[in-house]
């Protein structure tokens, strides 16, 4: 190894430069001989070329060897006295100049050569680097493509509808689920056209929410019905979040539609079941109470009847047992009194001796009612419109009872609109009726009250509903009358029923 390295070193720095120098100088010498007969003055310029070539191709060592060789050859062959190593006096300066020039050429040429080589090496390295970079770029490009493909597959695999829109809300991409559900190509989903698939009843809210989100750049989330390709509406949770650019401007919107139809249905059927249950328990309570009252009354009555029979038997006996008959008659009196006490007790149960009267803001009561009714109204697709007058005097009422009246009238109004096709609107109004009375009206857009039953609707146990107790309006009227007010039926502007009642204001 050591040997090999040394011989390489010898080759690189000994033999090779020497050989190059010898070759160049030999060529220069061979060319100079014929040429010196053409040019009178000792001609040495070709040696400069040889030195330059040696230094260029063999480096500084070859250059130096060439300088030494050239100096010797020139001194021997071309400096008088010719063919001798001695130098004539007048040629000394020429030889010195030659020598100096030769050294300079060597230095310059080898330096040039070194720079050239360094540049070449640098260029080669650069090329390698460029090649490496390009390979890396290609690789990362592939990776990006792969990850994008995976991402796309993911968006297609998610059983939800996904889309991407530009800053203005124009849809650029939608996954297969979305396109299949809506049944139209992406180009038709951009911009305003997107609102076409939203249910008309949800559209206003949807538009408003979307515009707010566009302006504020906040998240957008809304539940709305979206029409499918088959024309069927299903409930979706539409959610969209903005992606911001480096300058904090919105660059894109990402949206997802989650199908909540089943959830909605479950919610609605739950609510319906709850309502039915509460109704049922209400009527059940009534039935049980009636049964219990009947039982309470039946016991003493049975005793009275049996004693009465016995009394007749004692009197009819031969001879009549007057003592027994009299004792039995006494029992009849006792049991009759007991029956009467039961009746009084039942009556006391239903009578409210304590009257509650609180200073109340009727508009506040109505707002409270609307809050109570919100879910019910949404479920029945009824919108509630309020027209409440300001500056109404405060009322001296039992707020719970008045709210019960309002609730009853509102539910009646909603019931009346169950089969209405048109916009289901329930209007609740309050206004000043006279100086010391406030008028409240509840109007529906149902079919109104039939002519032949107008006279009976306030009667107890009168009902047009299969599950109705027929007590609602009767109770309402008695509550209103207990408040020195009146409750009556008027015709609504659009043919529906309008119930109105007055309540005396606080004096």
């Amino acid at each position: 190894m050591e040997q090999g390295a040394f011989s390489d070193w010898m080759m690189e720095y000994g033999l090779k430069p020497c050989a190059i120098a010898v070759c160049f100088v030999l060529v220069a010498l061979l060319w100079t001989f014929p040429l010196q007969h053409v040019i009178a003055y000792p001609f040495v310029f070709l040696f400069f070329g040889a030195i330059m070539g040696s230094a260029w191709f063999g480096g500084i060592i070859a250059g130096s060897v060439a300088v030494a060789l050239s100096t010797l050859v020139v001194t021997y062959f071309f400096i008088p006295p010719l063919f001798s190593m001695s130098v004539a006096k007048d040629s000394q300066s020429f030889l010195t100049a030659f020598f100096v020039c030769a050294i300079a050429i060597t230095v310059v040429s080898s330096a040039r050569k070194r720079t050239e080589s360094a540049i070449r090496v640098a260029r080669d390295q650069l090329e390698v680097k460029v090649r490496e970079r390009t390979a890396e770029l290609v690789q990362s490009n592939l990776e990006i493509q792969e990850s994008e493909r995976q991402l796309r597959m993911l968006t297609e695999a998610i059983p939800q509808q996904i889309w991407r829109a530009d800053a203005g809300g124009h849809v650029e991409y939608g996954n297969q689920h979305l396109i299949e559900y809506l049944g139209r190509p992406l180009e038709q989903l951009t911009g305003q056209l997107f609102f076409d698939v939203i249910h008309p009843e949800d559209e206003l809210l949807f538009r408003r929410g979307w515009h707010t989100a566009l302006e504020s750049g906040g998240n957008f989330e809304i539940e709305a019905r979206v029409r499918s390709a088959g024309g069927v509406y299903r409930w979706f949770l539409v959610r969209s979040i903005p992606q911001r650019s480096a300058k904090a401007e919105i660059a894109r919107w990402y949206g997802i539609h989650i199908d909540i139809e089943e959830q909605r249905r479950a919610q609605q059927s739950l609510a319906a079941a709850q309502e039915q249950l509460s109704r049922l328990s209400h009527t059940l309570g009534m039935a049980e109470m009636a049964a219990s009252i009947a039982h309470e009354l039946n016991q003493p009555l049975t005793a009275v009847v049996t004693h009465a029979y016995a009394c007749r038997e004692w009197l009819n006996a031969e001879p009549a047992n007057l003592a027994k008959a009299s004792a039995t008659a006494e029992k009849i009196v006792q049991e009759s009194t007991r029956a009467s006490a039961v009746v009084s007790r039942v009556r006391a149960l239903f009578r409210k001796d304590v009257q509650v009267r609180e200073s109340t803001d009727i508009n506040w009561l109505i707002h409270e009612l609307v809050r109570l009714l919100r879910d019910e109204a949404i479920r029945r697709e009824v919108s509630i419109r309020l027209e409440l007058a300001g500056n109404l005097p405060r009322l001296e009422v039992d707020p719970v009872q008045i709210q019960q009246v309002l609730l009853n009238l509102a539910i009646n109004g909603m019931d009346a609109m169950t089969h209405s096709a048109g916009p289901r609107e329930l209007a609740i109004r309050s206004k000043k009726h006279s100086d010391n009375e406030v008028l409240i009206s509840v109007e529906d857009h149902g079919p109104g009250v039939a002519e032949e039953i107008v006279g009976s609707i306030f009667d107890p146990f009168f009902s047009t509903k299969p599950q109705g107790t027929g007590m609602g309006l009767a109770i309402c009227r008695s509550i209103v009358e207990a408040h020195d007010g009146r409750l009556w039926l008027a015709s609504g502007a659009r043919g529906g029923a309008m119930f109105q009642f007055t309540v005396r204001a606080q004096s």
């Binding site: 039982h295 049975t302 005793a303 049996t306 029979y309 016995a310 038997e313 004692w314």
Partner: protein, 212 residues
């Protein structure tokens, strides 16, 4: 045995009802006792009691319907008249199927009650007579010897003296002797009567069975 006086046992939680019913029954000459609950009645219960039970279907504690079931399971055949302020059809069907005499809805007419009570008493008399007969047959069977019982079993099964003699490994004369003694002890005038007696007490299958 038949000396026990027939009476109506009223079970109702309302004392006014009990008093009224007792008074009415007494006025028409029917003895009555009343209890506020099924439990109170059960404590005083005697198998020799004659008459019927006038039972409120809805009682505190054990309900009338449950009590009927308990009595039946205990093999007590006293007839029951139900009464209630509000009888629902399934309940009526259930108690009637279980053997109630009548179902009265409060308040009821005197005639309804008296009629039901009389029906129940008639039923109870028949029941007690039946029970008495069964008891006396049992008592007679008890006087038989083991061999005599064997002979009776085979005779009532329709076997001839010859066959019985073969089965029991006895002479035909001996069988005839046993047979005559069985007829005497059982006070049976004919073979048919003996068979009927055995059928009544379910002889020889199950001895401990009450007829209802």
């Amino acid at each position: 045995m038949t000396t026990a006086q027939e009476r109506v046992f009223i079970v109702d939680d309302d004392p006014a009802i009990c008093e009224g019913l007792s008074n009415l029954l007494e006025s028409v000459g029917i003895a009555a006792e009343h209890y506020p609950s099924a439990e109170a009645f059960r404590e005083r219960w005697d198998k020799a009691n004659a008459g019927c039970l006038l039972l409120d279907a809805r009682l505190p504690g054990i309900s009338g319907v449950e009590f009927q079931e308990q009595l039946r399971e205990a093999g007590l055949g006293i007839p029951i008249i139900f009464m209630t302020a509000h009888g629902d059809v399934p309940m009526v069907r259930k108690v009637m199927k279980a053997g109630a005499i009548e179902f009265l809805t409060k308040p009821f007419q005197k005639e309804e009650l008296i009629h039901a009570v009389e029906q129940a008493f008639t039923f109870d008399r028949a029941r007690r007579r039946e029970a008495e007969t069964v008891d006396s047959i049992r008592a007679r069977i008890d006087t038989l010897t083991e061999r005599e019982r064997e002979v009776m079993t085979q005779v009532t099964a329709g076997l001839l003296n010859k066959q019985i003699a073969g089965d029991l490994n006895l002479s035909e004369i001996t069988i005839k002797l046993h047979r005559r003694r069985v007829m005497e002890k059982m006070r049976a005038g004919s073979l048919a009567e003996l068979v009927k007696m055995c059928e009544r007490v379910n002889w020889p299958r199950t001895e401990a069975s009450e007829t209802s």
